[in-house]
């Protein structure tokens, strides 16, 4: 299973999904009304490293984080 967590203002509990890659995650989240509107602006990290392409495979135990637009300071 892959754990998916939603950071900051998305305000949604983590979920666990049986998925093999980020494309599958994209398909799942596009159909989730709590999250779909965030997808365009969110960055994605796998195991706390930011990734820049959807062409990434996932394995059991991976953690995927969605990071909405930021504003520190």
């Amino acid at each position: 299973m892959v754990k998916v967590e939603f950071l900051g203002p998305i305000n949604k509990e983590s979920i666990s999904l049986d998925i093999q890659n980020l494309s599958e995650l994209s398909d799942v989240l596009k159909n989730d009304s709590d999250v779909s509107s965030w997808l365009e602006t969110c960055a994605v990290a796998i195991n706390d490293t930011l990734v820049s392409t959807k062409d990434v495979n996932l394995v059991d135990g991976d953690k995927v984080s969605l990071l909405p637009p930021v504003c520190g300071g």
């Binding site: 203002p9 930021v70 520190g72």
Partner: protein
């Protein structure tokens, strides 16, 4: 002392900046530049509130420390988590460098990159509620791959 420090609520500015000065004044840095961010009273807010994601904040900060080291400098940072009210401080950044010009340029780049990339989310506190500061927020580089 860690070079990146997270505090619950408002920053104790004098404690932090004095500690940094005491720690580094004898290290032969010719320039120690400190930037203190203070919450402004505007748009009828009572203050700001912050969420942080420390694992990626740490790696972002470490990459800056490497960049600073290449110029014989160091970077320092303190940030709040939770509520910070008007006229309190939520963010302090500093650069210590042997050379004045390096420190002046780096504090500018460091603060701007922080604003654009550090995984911290800001909320206005209005009537006791947290409202995400969406219009002031910036997409992290590479955002949108799941759309």
């Amino acid at each position: 002392m860690k070079n990146l420090q997270i505090f619950e609520k408002a920053l104790p500015v004098e404690l932090i900046t004095n500690a940094w000065y005491d720690e580094f004044k004898d290290s032969n840095y010719g320039a120690i530049i400190t930037f203190v961010g203070v919450v402004r009273n505007e748009n009828s807010i009572d203050g700001l509130s912050f969420d942080l994601y420390e694992p990626i904040l740490n790696s972002w900060f470490d990459s800056w420390q490497k960049k600073a080291k290449d110029k014989n400098a160091i970077v320092l940072m303190a940030h709040s988590r939770g509520d910070v009210f008007n006229h309190e401080s939520s963010y302090i950044a500093a650069v210590c460098s042997p050379k004045r010009r390096v420190a002046l340029e780096m504090i500018d780049e460091f603060v701007e990159d922080f604003k654009a990339q550090a995984p911290i989310w800001k909320y206005d506190i209005i009537d006791g509620k947290r409202v995400y500061a969406e219009d002031r927020s910036t997409k992290i580089s590479g955002a949108g791959i799941l759309k």
